[in-house]
């Protein structure tokens, strides 16, 4: 019972922290993108446009909730909620400090991959339920992409699992705190594995250059074409949560999570997470988009074989005693 209370308390705390971070993250992204495009970004609402995300949210919530006449009402309504649940659910097993973790699952890595894999369902439900051809094409792309990139994602995540010999994320972080960060040493399976993880994570969270399912220049808005108001807000939120949680996962698995000198663990974790978060948006506003078949080719001909090789290298590393 004690565990349940702990989980509920920290779960609420972490979810609140994540949601408020993405509110500020949206402001930061808009400002950052503006500067990269030599624009000012938001300036009007609040000092330096700081209140812009809240204005956005209020505006979105005020909008009329339009449901297409021939939509599959159940799926259409379910999809945005599921999207937020799935993307927030991943955060449950991520340790933000040795003690700040909602549920220190023994098989945390499996939880992350499983719940992350569940994101297919809301995507499909939205694409199918909208009864819109653009949304349907988006859903088809999203599912193909999600299934494909699941493979390199699993392979990349297995590298720290093998190296540390633990399926629990806090166990992996603790191991790194004792020895070394996986992105730094052993450099050969570690750093490439992080790169593959990063790319697969971009693909799973539909960020440029892998935002094929949304692809607003081709599919209008992909799966979210028919969504308005609050439901659209939920999708929008889920995307950002997915990105932020993915960054946190990358920080925990490859960069030692809360491990770092001079400062409390939480600070380090937040710093590392936000660095990856910014990197994602930097990439997003700098690159163009792949085509669906190029995306698949990249996944199957490069990332997957390299992932298998990295897994073998890390197994060999462990077998021949490289870890100690």
């Amino acid at each position: 019972m004690n565990e349940l209370v702990h989980g509920a308390l920290y779960g609420t705390l972490i979810a609140t922290a994540i949601l408020s971070t993405i509110a500020m993250g949206i402001w930061f992204e808009r400002k950052f993108a503006g500067r990269m495009q030599q624009r000012l970004g938001p300036t009007i609402v609040g000092p330096a446009g700081l209140l812009q995300p809240f204005a956005d949210i209020i505006k979105l919530l005020q909008k009329e909730d339009i449901v297409p006449r021939d939509a599959d009402r159940g799926l259409f309504d379910l999809a945005p909620i599921l999207a937020v649940v799935c993307s927030l659910g991943v955060a449950a097993v991520i340790p933000f400090s040795p003690s700040i973790i909602a549920s220190d699952l023994d098989v945390g890595v499996l939880w992350v991959l499983g719940i992350g894999g569940l994101m297919v369902i809301p995507t499909f439900a939205a694409g199918w339920g909208s009864n819109n051809k653009f949304a349907l094409l988006g859903a088809m792309r999203a599912i193909a992409q999600s299934v494909s990139y699941g493979v390199p994602l699993v392979l990349a995540v297995l590298v720290p699992v093998v190296l540390s010999g633990s399926l629990s994320i806090s166990g992996i972080v603790a191991w790194q705190a004792q020895h070394h960060w996986f992105a730094v040493w052993p450099i050969v399976p570690g750093l490439p594995a992080f790169v593959i993880f990063f790319l697969a994570m971009l693909a799973e969270s539909n960020r440029i250059p892998f935002d094929i399912p949304e692809a607003e220049s081709e599919l209008v808005a992909g799966i979210t074409t028919e969504y308005t108001g609050a439901k659209f807000t939920l999708f929008y939120m889920a995307e950002y949560v997915h990105t932020l949680v993915g960054s946190a996962l990358g920080a925990a698995l490859f960069f030692g999570g809360w491990d770092g000198p001079f400062a409390p663990g939480l600070h380090w974790m937040v710093l590392k997470t936000l660095t990856l978060f910014v990197l994602i948006y930097w990439v997003r506003w700098s690159l163009l988009r792949f085509r669906a078949d190029q995306l698949m080719r990249l996944c199957w001909t490069w990332l997957t074989p390299i992932g298998v090789a990295l897994l073998l290298v890390s197994a060999a590393w462990v077998t021949f005693g490289g870890t100690n």
């Binding site: 021939d70 939509a71 599959d72 799926l75 699952l105 023994d106 098989v107 499996l110 939880w111 991959l113 499983g114 719940i115 894999g117 569940l118 297919v120 369902i121 499909f124 439900a125 199918w128 339920g129 009864n131 349907l136 859903a139 088809m140 599912i143 193909a144 999600s146 299934v147 699941g150 493979v151 699993v154 399926l167 698949m296 080719r297 199957w300 001909t301 997957t304 074989p305 298998v308």
Partner: protein, 183 residues
């Protein structure tokens, strides 16, 4: 106390499994299947087999159900939402199901050693690992060879260049085609 979550998970699983076979829409059936599988995973988790629960979600929902959805989408005509999935022979299917359940229930209850002490929740993952590369190493390796072969096949297919499409001279457009294009 222990049985409340178990009962809930079992109820959800049963209900959604029923919906899988009774749903008139194939897409709904596939999504109910996802919920049934999730319920099964929850059952595993309640029983302390967290590794199995994780694998269940990862493989069956992330893999099998997704592929089912892909299958539906690329094989059926999707010009609307309704993908009919009418089931036939309700009575016969019901009889077979009940009979199967009876046989399974009898078989399980007749199996000796069910009242052994349950494993600790933390032990299972390690136990499975040891069992896989210890006792069952041959089966494990055979299966992994199979999966490796499947993956290599996928890579080979992905690497294959598009067959060169036949060159068509399209300088001459037949008049019928122009009419058709105009329509």
């Amino acid at each position: 106390m222990e049985s409340i979550p178990f009962g809930l998970a079992a109820l959800v699983t049963l209900f959604s499994a029923l919906r899988v076979v009774r749903s008139p829409n194939l897409v709904h059936a596939a999504l109910w299947l996802g919920l049934a599988l999730l319920g099964t995973a929850a059952l595993f988790a309640v029983l302390g087999a967290s590794f199995l629960a994780g694998v269940q979600v990862l493989l069956y929902i992330g893999g099998v159900m997704t592929l089912t959805l892909v299958g539906i989408m690329i094989t059926r005509r999707h010009d609307g939402l309704n993908v009919p999935a009418e089931s036939i022979g309700h009575v016969r299917a019901g009889v077979v199901s009940v009979a199967l359940f009876a046989v399974l229930a009898w078989a399980i209850s007749a199996t000796p050693g069910l009242d052994a002490a349950p494993l600790g929740p933390d032990a299972t993952t390690q136990d499975i690992g040891h069992a896989l590369v210890g006792t069952h190493v041959l089966a494990f390796e055979v299966v992994s060879m199979l999966l490796l072969a499947a993956m290599l096949g996928a890579i080979v297919i992905a690497r294959r260049k598009d067959p060169a499409p036949h060159a068509v001279t399209h300088l001459h457009v037949p008049a019928t085609a122009v009419r058709e294009a105009a329509e």
